[in-house]
Amino acid sequence: MTAVIEANGLGKRYRQTWALSECTLAIPAGKVVGLVGPNGAGKTTLLHLSVGLLQPTAGSITVLGGRPGTTPDQLARVGFVAQDAPVYAGLSIRDHLRFGARMNPSWDMALAEDRVARVGLQPHQRAGELSGGQRAQLALTLAVARRPELLVLDEPVASLDPLARREFLQGLMEIVVEHGASVILSSHLVADLERVCDYVVVLVDSRVQVAGDIDDLLATHHRLTGARRDPDALPRDQQVISESHTDRQSTLVVRTEGPVLDPSWSVQQLDLEDLVLAYMTRSVQGNRRPKLETRP
């Protein structure tokens, strides 16, 4: 399996706090990966580490087989759009495209101009006059026209209105079909990611809680509802992720490879949002059982 991002015990510390700790991941290529978690969980830190804007304090990270940000070749293979899509306010869109051409030997000007026209931007417009959605599209164009193997997007749709959000994701999916790039995008809203992602990494409290193919994860996580009981009584192969009890009833989210055969449980499927919430709750409740291996 070719891993597009591989991290081993990766950690980053700022003064006294660890923004990211003990992060171990092996993200396969060819996926659209959603990096989800609450604000301050470490998503931006992880993404900045993967594009070379930050250096690790502990552990290591390799992207497309190389250390991020080290050589022009390595830089050319990864496209990045930072949070709020920074662009040069005083330069026009045409200036930005020239900027892209001069900074990148792999620049595809035809692709860039085509995309700019398709999303409705005029070359003479100054980037400072663009709306949030237009800026996001410009930044995405600048990243995509470099023809990278991996696209890294930090909260690309967080501050966009629903229409701009939809248009951005439509464009992004088109890019995935046309260029076959792997994508990793972060968001603190799961709904944004559910449609476009097929792989998810859940980051809570600066730690990776779970990572894997969304289909696999949804097939192996279940909500069990039934009479109140002690979660420790469950079979060993059923890992309890989150639990809540009333005086009569217990509701558990469990992770298990096999089927749940106990007839006293009512078993339900989860959607991605439920899954993420369960892991966020677990983080708040504290670990009660040893964590299962997170490699898929």
Binding site: L53, Q55, N104
Partner: protein
Amino acid sequence: MIRVALRQFRTEAIVGFGLLAVLAIVLAVTGPHLAQVNDAFQSSCRPAGDCATTPNPVFRVDVPLQGFLPIIVTVAPALLGLFFGAPLIARELETGTFRLAWTQSVTRRRWLAVKLGLVGIASMAIAGLLTWMVDWWASPLAAATKDRLDPGHFGWHGVVPIGYAAFAFALGATAGVLLRRTVPAMAATLVGFVAARVAVGNWVRPNLASPLHQSLSLASTGIGSLNLAAQTGTFSLIPPSVNIPNGWVLSTAVVDKSGKALTDQYVLHACPGYGRFPGAPPSPAAMQSVHASCLNTLSTTFHTVAAYQPGSRFWPFQWAEMAIFLAAAVALCGFSYWWLRRQ
């Protein structure tokens, strides 16, 4: 990357070189007249032999320019530091565009090297051209003045402004890297630059070469000024100020043959006339005779020694001070690179 840096620098470059061009026109138009006036004066005073005693009318031509140009050349390096240096990196850090710039196919090292190199050279070029233009325009005046090492003269002639500009620029860029905001970086640059100029001018420049010493008779210089502090009733003796033609006087001292300095107690002891007027202030005539007799008494044992740098050292000092500021500029650039990489 070079063309990108040029495009980003376009506005500042237009303003900087534009202002330079405007000044060039003004100087080109007024300069020849200055030279003419001076030439006319020289050709009339030389045959008469009174060049040193007759006032040269050149000092009354274009007086406002004569006053402004030293200020412009003195201030220019600081302005270059503030407007070329401080925003260079600070603005990218402030607006977040560094996250765009550092994820292109250009390494951070090359990005920084090109930005610093291009704008640094532009700063030095502006400072160099400016100084050269002003030196050319003011040459009829400079021929008449001596004292080229004088602090009021040294800093806006020759080549040191190039070193100042390089340093101010590098200081601005480094302040931007450390503070990550343009306006605080500008403030820090201004403070740092002024401090550096003052420090070098006061403590380094006088010692760039061992000062020369000249002995002068006490009769020609006086013993200095003897002051009585009314509150405490104590005396203090300040050595006399001395003027050496074409020399920058650093310090003077009144000493005896073995090098021991004259003290206020010695003066009061040797010249009892100074203590003789308790109460009512003395008449000027009386004071004159006390001064004269004291001078007579002391001049047999004491003489004045002046430490100075001769004007002939102007160019060696220029190159040395420019080298110091250039070296500091290079060190700052290296530090900036190291700091940015540490991220």
